[in-house]
Symmetry: D2
Subunit: 340 residues, 4 copies
């Protein structure tokens, strides 16, 4: 039987931090040994989140580098961007493994980082070595790194949805993406805008053409396919409790058939335990609470265009679930270990 | 044709203030002429709430007593308690009509006010003259006053539900009330507790035995029936967008029949345009968006006990709708004018 | 003061029929005098829908042509497609005005009707004379007709969103439309698929490239602009209680500016009381419960592409509200009469 | 390592059947080997419920006793009441273990069964031997039986909430219970009443004083405490996706203290892994997706009355979770095995 690893979650009171704790508690080979949050003096974690009562008996503390180093070997950074890049170097110096859920190590090009996040990157040395943690495409690199840049929620759904068609050079690089997301993607913030009465039964588009995940989508699709795509990315908030549903509009260079597309995806993802390919359009609810990304298609009658739909639970496959998948790979565990 | 009255809404950006504006816009005899909010420098009201675009063309400003007096004759105070009692006297001195939606003028006994609201009352003079604005029981007094204390949302549903049985001396005075409410009753606040993800699909009880509306319920039931009730009041928050659903448990002094209860209520409310009496338990959704309070019953087989259910839209019959009903009565309009 | 017209709602127990009753009850110049439903033996309408108690006192009956003719002068047909075309001719023969909310009289081309609705049209004579009831573009024709084909919910939002750009020849005719709708658009049916637990918190796309509203969208956009568009139409169901939110992706023939688009729309809709044009993307909730269609834009940085978002309440501006707007125009009432 | 048991779920397409499959898939010592539903010809289970794709590869079939016997050793009967009693005897005769989630074996008194379920009991022989499957109180009997009557959802929450106070003789036997439940408790039925638009944002009480779970609550509380309670049980449907929240109103024989109640519950449930006792009122969401029952209290100032709140996920602790807990006990597994 394998030995348990000691893990820490920094930023354990945000949505992704809380989900990490929930998932790690069911992981047979991980032991949560350090939880931090800037918002709390040392407080029992289950006092902050009563749903964890009887499940975890550990305090949530302010981050302290010395204690951190003593307490854990694997660090999940569920921190705001710009904060991760200040803490990751300290941990890496001490030979710790770091899985960063912020955007800080995803974009290799620091000027693109600055464009989207309005902040000058402070840790270029580690940025170069960071591996983009999308296991479906970068498993070999993830195995060998100690710094994973965990993908964004929108990018995960969109890249998994588009990469096979792009890599196979079947589609044109001009693509329109209409994505629908729960508000939890925006973090746990005390804003009137996030009040129940503003979100429930509501839908709205935001940041047309300029959402910060656009740079990440374009970079990683290029890394995977070699193609620079011209992407229109239009995110929406919808009043659902979890999940992202991305509808991608693509056009084919040559006439195609439904089965050729379907088989292409089946082939690409045949060894990927968390990608499911359907002959119909998926429903969001089928992935909620799981680490699956569900993909389905619709083909136009003239066989020149398709919609590719890709959906996932934004806090699991779109964040904390993939983070644990990355931990599994980095630690030599089974890729599915502890995940459902 | 009657002349329009000029009205002001102070606190126009809270939930009840916004609902007042919505309802007043459909009132044929009222003209909104002054809107205030402490949160905004003069701003077009429809910029704050885009849903009012093309419907109202007026600024929302900081309160100023001189402008207030010039602009309107009827003032709706949709202000926090303790604030209303500072402003109402200024308006009353200038012979304005005031309909206060806060708790400040509801409790005649200042020590009970202090007990529940932790604040020493500052306007005892007007408190004495204030009329409790429940038109179903105090219409004659409302006609003659210039200061209405508009009822609380829970009290409105509960008093309308219980008063006929108490007044007729049919039930014992020990009563249990289990109430379910939307979170909008707590006001539009930027709290993580009110985040969509905390409210949606959630239910919880709060303030058992000590909710601040308890004093109001007991006082008014006594004013109406002459009886001092021993009430257990247990409010709950449920993840619905609007409404209050109060389930009241009563016991009878003598065996009763369903039809005698039903007829009692029909008789009491025969001239009340906004109370509907049913032979079955009402559904919350049937009153949402309306000024109705729906009441229904269930009788035990031994005919000794009953549940009385009373429900309403907390922002309409539980606040702004009744406020307009009060305005109608104070101004000599038809009681139903402008209300649905 | 104008005389009230007597109106009938056929199919009064579906979602659009029920909404018609709700709206007509607030209409000062209409009197509901006949309600039918195939599902009920004569039953008090407020027994079927308790929310109408004390508001309407009329029975809902099985349709009978003789009674129909005696009872009303204006008929709203909130019937399934293929049923309307059997009843409308009988009413038109008796000089009644008919506003049909089904799809039966929307498509002039009977072979396109057959393609999308799998049914051979049975009333070509009236089909020719029917006027498409989108008041924003066909008001003059609506004034003179006695048969209005009330637009579909998706088409209303999409046509209002796209027509100005197409008519002005600014955009290419290849357009992608990603629409999000409440499930109420599918009618009040007893299906496990429509069970609360299947809809709440769910999102899914359906009928990619083949939804039956596609023919209507293309025909009417051509009628308005003279252009035959190549449209990709991708509808989704989302777990909201009401509304449609259509996101349209367009590309410009020449570089454009935000203000030129905005002004174009302001100009087109300056006399349309129910279309509001925004400089930002609208939010669905701002139109719920109203007859407004809200339109907003986002322009790409290269000024070659835009998203046009158009949203409405599917049961009001997308069905029953526009139907009443049409009635107002047909009867010479003010276009806004009785609508909010 | 323990050997896996082969299990069957009869009625695998209802809500509790589906939840059983979900939970059993995560159980390390159970192997699902037989799934039935009267609604389907042999169909891949993951075609019926796409969310199980890649997780289970088994057909859902019509029930056949011969196949049943060959396929499994433990049978979960997620069947309608009156159906279970026809199938359980066949399985028991073949020495199979049966966990019945219907009401058929819960009420020892067949006339009470008939009163509440309007059906004459057909299997009195097994009824006598059946053990009520509430592990917190009947673990020893569950260990030894091969027929468990799995408790109802309302009764589970209510009995766990009240039993300690009754058993300790601290409270009077007249108790009022106001319970709030998701609609999923009523089963997956194709009814317009269960349409999303009827449930979302709605609340209503139903079956006052006569709900069929009342007999079960009274019987089991008597079995546990020896006291015959006079219970007013008032269930409500609320528009939440899962869960039951029971608010119980009790009065004390003598003055009490908060800590004495709290300690009483802590003591009673100290060896119960799935009951959590709080000093505050619990929130429903903290138990959703788990097998926990959360209990909390509020005490009146005069120390004579209390509210006891008990909440759970109706499909897990209120049905399928407890069923698996019972399986664990019957099979000698750890009580918590496979449950979260």
């Amino acid at each position: 039987m394998m030995k348990k690893v000691k893990v820490a979650v920094l930023g354990a009171t945000g949505f992704t931090g809380e989900k990490l704790v929930e998932l790690l508690l069911n992981h047979p080979l991980a032991e949560i040994n350090y939880l931090t949050s800037k918002n709390f003096e040392p407080t029992s974690y289950s006092d902050i989140f009563p749903r964890f009562k009887n499940k975890i008996n550990i305090k949530c503390e302010q981050f302290d580098i010395k204690r951190a180093i003593k307490r854990a070997d694997i660090f999940f950074l569920a921190l705001p961007h710009t904060v991760s890049m200040q803490i990751a170097p300290l941990l890496l110096k001490k030979k710790k493994k770091v899985i960063d859920l912020s955007a800080d190590y995803r974009l290799k090009n620091v000027s693109i980082y600055k464009k989207f996040y309005k902040y000058t990157h402070k840790d270029r040395r580690n940025l170069k070595r960071a591996v983009y943690g999308l296991p479906e495409f970068f498993k070999d690199k993830i195995k060998k790194t100690n710094l994973v840049a965990n993908p964004g929620c929108y990018p995960t759904s969109i890249i998994l949805g588009l990469a096979p068609l792009l890599k196979s050079r079947k589609i044109n690089t001009k693509i329109i993406i209409d994505a629908k997301s729960t508000i939890t993607g925006a973090g746990r913030k005390a804003l009137v805008d996030y009040h129940f009465s503003n979100i429930n039964n509501n839908i709205w588009g935001y940041k047309p053409f300029i959402h910060q995940h656009l740079g990440e989508i374009i970079q990683i699709l290029k890394d995977i396919s070699g193609l620079h795509c011209k992407i229109t990315f239009m995110p929406h908030v919808v009043g659902v409790e979890s999940g992202i549903y991305s509808t991608c509009y693509v056009s084919f260079k040559k006439l195609t058939t439904f089965s050729s597309i379907f088989n292409l995806y089946k082939r690409y993802y045949k060894d990927c335990p968390f990608v499911r390919v359907y002959k119909v359009l998926p429903k969001l609810k089928d992935v909620i609470g799981t680490n699956f990304c569900d993909i389905g298609f619709g083909l136009s009658k003239d066989k020149k265009e398709a919609v590719v739909v890709s959906c996932l639970d934004n806090l699991i496959k779109g964040a904390s679930g993939t983070a644990i998948q990355n931990m599994n790979i980095m630690c030599g565990f089974k890729e599915k270990e502890g995940l459902i």
